[in-house]
């Protein structure tokens, strides 16, 4: 735990990439493999199931520190991070012991869900007696599943590649596999020996960049492959040796959540790796993302789910065919092969090709961009026809051009203190619009303001609080903000009857008085009619 703690501290106290990679390398060279395996797993963002709720954790910590729970809440509000709050509140241990990371995880963390309340409390108290403040902070982060550090998978892969003496791209591909956080698998990652059960890990995904220039500057429109940008789950389907694996971009294996896709892929004649998008399809166009969410994180997929929310895979790239890696081929050749391959094997409604938009001029492209929402897409993709398939986010290869968001002018009614970098500042807001003479909450938003605006709103909140409910402050409804959002859905869970997708603050309408904010009726008018959405 000491080395892991030092690593975290080093990563946390610099913004320089080279320093971070150096710290990671040093860690991987020095840490015992059993610990390094877990560290690696956490660094690349893998999570463990939660063994204790944050409510329990707060209560145990309050009891252990001998302070009332309200004081824990006051402190949490000031600190903005529960793991940190508790680490600071607990008394320093009398004798610190050095607990290896793998012992902490395997013997303390993993058993938690199976234990009863008393045993759970006992494990936490024992651990608190042994760990120093900074170690506890990390321990709490692991307990709450909130471990994040400014290194990420790319830098981690780079450092580990240096330790293993291989190319970063090779390491990054190895890391995508089904390896377990054990000393043995960790050593296999370093040596390159196949990890057991590794029939197929996804290739590192090519990620699109939001377009930041005017399209006319991209040169000849014929150099670009133009498609709809789908609002679904990016995925790779790997089909080898009669086995099918479906991987999400977050590198989660989601094969069993979409059995219909597995079925369709099993019928394919050859081994192949496809890149594309999972969507729930309506009659002529995809249904909203919220329908797709209903298929995620299900323990069991019922026949009812399959009928009500049928998934399709829209393929747009071919990464491997009959054992041959196609990624170095230019896009237009991959596309040709993809079309030839899928010809005759498309399963209507389940496995299909993402259509190309045969556009001849940039003006036509712009027209289609404006039509995207009506076609059930969230914009256009512009892909350079001559480009190879490279992993990661590379500028100038794939551009995404999203449709303009919707806007609404809403009134700030509640505020809550932020977290992390925004701890102690009121940065998390609830907004409302008018309905029958009253303000009805429609969305929460956290992003979009400059640091200076945040400070200004923070001061307003502190000076205009009219009520407090726990950490939430109700404020005088005076400030108007223009919110931008990507979509709107009916929702029975919200008082307003609607839910906005990706709401954020577009600008502060200092020129508007609260009574000039929008009315709920205007948002209702944006709702797709019931029949369209199916």
């Amino acid at each position: 735990m000491k080395l892991f703690c030092r690593l975290y501290h080093e990563l946390d106290s610099t913004t320089r990439t080279t320093d971070k990679v150096r710290a990671l390398e040093r860690y991987f060279r020095e840490a015992p493999p059993a610990d390094a395996a877990w560290a690696l797993s956490f660094l690349i963002g893998r999570r463990l199931p939660r063994g204790v709720t944050t409510t329990q954790l707060r209560q145990y910590a309050a009891d252990f520190a001998g302070i009332p729970i309200w004081m824990v809440e006051e402190c949490y509000e000031a600190v903005g991070d529960l793991a940190e709050t508790l680490a600071l509140l607990l008394p320093e241990p009398a004798e610190k012991e050095s607990l290896p990371l793998h012992v902490l995880v395997e013997e303390r963390l993993l058993p938690l869900p199976r234990l009863n309340e008393e045993e759970r409390r006992a494990i936490l108290e024992t651990t608190w007696r042994q760990l120093s403040g900074p170690e506890r902070f990390l321990w709490h982060k692991l307990l709450t599943g909130g471990f994040r550090v400014g290194a990420g998978r790319t830098l981690t892969a780079r450092a580990l590649a240096a330790v293993a003496g291989v190319d970063p791209a090779v390491m990054s591909h190895r890391l995508m596999g089904p390896w377990q956080p054990t000393a043995a698998d960790y050593q296999r990652l370093l040596s390159g020996d196949a990890v057991e059960g590794d029939v197929g890990k996804p290739f590192p995904f090519l990620l699109a960049y939001p377009i930041e220039v005017s399209i006319e500057t991209l040169g000849d429109v014929r150099d670009w492959q133009i498609e709809w940008k789908w609002d679904g789950i990016r995925a790779q389907i790997i089909c080898r040796d009669g086995k099918v694996l479906t991987w999400s971009r977050g590198e989660e294996l989601i094969t069993d959540q979409f059995p219909e896709l597995k079925q369709a892929a099993l019928a394919l004649p050859n081994s192949v790796v496809l890149d594309g998008e999972i969507l729930i399809w309506g009659q002529n166009s995809p249904r909203p993302f919220s329908d797709l969410q209903k298929r995620l994180n299900r323990k069991r997929v019922t026949s009812r789910d399959l009928k009500d929310y049928p998934a399709v895979f829209v393929a747009y790239d071919l990464l491997e065919l009959n054992g041959e890696d196609c990624r170095t081929l230019p896009l237009y050749m991959r596309r040709e092969r993809l079309e030839r391959f899928l010809d005759g094997w498309q399963v209507p409604g389940t496995l299909r090709l993402s259509p190309l938009l045969p556009l001849e001029t940039w003006a036509e492209v712009a027209v289609h961009h404006a039509l995207a929402r009506e076609c059930g897409a969230e914009g256009l993709m512009l892909k350079l026809r001559s480009s190879p398939y490279v992993g990661g986010r590379v500028k100038g290869v794939w551009w995404k051009w999203k449709v303009e968001p919707f806007h609404v002018d809403a009134v700030l009614i509640n505020a809550q203190a932020g977290h992390g970098r925004r701890a102690g500042l009121y940065t998390d807001y609830t907004f409302a619009v008018w309905h029958e003479g009253r303000l009805v909450p429609i969305a929460k938003a956290y992003s979009g303001l400059t640091d200076e605006e945040i400070r200004e709103v923070d001061a307003f909140v502190k000076a205009n609080t009219v009520d407090r409910f726990g950490p939430v402050r109700a404020v005088r409804p005076e400030l108007v903000f223009e919110l931008a959002f990507e979509g709107i859905q009916r929702s029975s869970r919200h008082k307003s009857g609607i839910a906005l997708r990706f709401p954020r603050m577009n600008r502060w309408r200092k020129d508007k008085r609260p009574e000039e904010a929008d009315h709920l009726e205007r948002l209702w008018a944006l709702l797709p009619s019931e029949t369209d959405s199916r």
């Binding site: 946390d12 106290s13 610099t14 913004t15 520190a65 302070i67 009332p68 309200w70 004081m71 006051e74 402190c75 000031a78 600190v79 903005g80 991070d81 940190e84 709050t85 600071l88 509140l89 977290h419 992390g420 970098r421 925004r422 701890a423 102690g424 001061a459």
Partner: protein, 332 residues
């Protein structure tokens, strides 16, 4: 009967003695606890302040300000009210104000810290009936480690930066924190440079007997010539200025109690945060309050809600007073 000291829109006021304590606009007569700008406001006709704070106050209030010096522990009578000043341990010359009238004793703490260190007179607990206390860090997440440990961290960071050829820049409040750091730095570790904003206060400290190591100029060209060996003390306002950019490769840090919280440190955009405060921490506040033996506590300046509720749950009579339009500077 009116209170001996009341909160008015201009700050704390003693009606019987007709004087203000740390008013934030010009008044006839002001008692000033210390030289930070949120406590020492220019334009009043007459000031009363601790003798050792006068040179600093002259910098802040102007050379012509009428400041009557009062040595710690001695008292004067203002309109029949007995007033004396006692060390608050916050910065050089910082004072608690003891006010006595008809047998009733009130103490206004000003800003204070309970841990003694060489750059200012140590905090002295004063028995009183009513104690008006600050509460900048009145939450149990704020517990300071000993200064020696923090200084060891600072020196280790400085050495690491020297190995990489990076100048170490510590941002610290120009009055108080900078001098406290300077007095505790090891001149054997490398050259120490002090920014002009903090440098102007050094003579006042030296006059009061505080000993500093030899220092160098913080002119960018000079610092650069030292090729990353130097440690620079500068106010945060100098961060990312042309002067700062001219220093060459740097590693930055802030020294403040707020650095206890990771979020505050990240918001500052510096590489390191050193937890070093001139305010009392949670334990310091509680012990200071206890030692006054006060029957009533008035909480101001900071986490007033939390401290007040805590004290009430401990059975103390307590209420909070907020400065309203006055925002406490985050000097930590």
């Amino acid at each position: 009967m009116p209170n001996l000291i009341e909160l008015t829109p201009r700050g704390w006021y003693c009606p019987a003695g007709d004087f203000y304590i740390d008013p934030d606009s010009p008044v006839e007569r002001a008692v000033v606890t210390h030289g930070h700008t949120d406590h020492a406001y220019p334009g009043s006709r007459r000031y009363l302040a601790s003798a050792s704070s006068v040179p600093v106050l002259k910098q802040r209030l102007g050379p012509d300000a009428d400041i009557e010096p009062l040595p710690f522990g001695q008292s004067i009578t203002i309109n029949g009210v007995k007033v004396s000043l006692h060390p608050a341990g916050h910065v050089l010359g910082s004072a608690q104000v003891r006010v006595e009238h008809r047998g009733e004793v009130w103490v206004v703490s000003g800003d204070y810290k309970t841990v003694a260190e060489p750059s200012c007179e140590p905090f002295e607990p004063i028995r009183c009936h009513v104690f008006i206390t600050e509460s900048t860090f009145a939450l149990p997440v704020y517990r300071w480690r000993p200064q020696s440990e923090v200084m060891a961290e600072i020196h280790a960071w400085w050495r690491a930066n020297q190995e990489q050829g990076r100048t170490s820049v510590i941002f610290a409040y120009a009055l108080g924190k900078a001098q406290r750091l300077l007095a505790a730095l090891d001149p054997g570790a490398g050259p120490i440079c002090v920014h002009g904003a903090a440098r102007v206060f050094l003579p006042a400290y030296e006059a009061a007997g505080v000993r500093f190591p030899p220092i160098d100029s913080a002119e960018a060209a000079e610092v650069r010539r030292m090729e990353g060996r130097a440690l620079v003390l500068a106010p945060y306002s100098s961060f990312r200025t042309p002067w700062f950019h001219a220093l060459g490769p740097t590693s930055t840090a802030t020294a403040s109690g707020w650095m206890q919280i990771r979020g505050h440190r990240r918001r500052q955009g510096v590489d390191r945060g050193f937890v070093l405060s001139d305010h009392a921490d949670w334990d310091g506040l509680l012990s200071a309050i206890r030692e006054t033996g006060a029957e009533r506590v008035v909480v101001t300046h900071g986490y007033t809600d939390a401290l007040c509720r805590w004290l009430r749950e401990q059975g103390m009579e307590c209420w909070k007073a907020s400065y309203g339009r006055r925002l406490h500077e985050e000097v930590g």
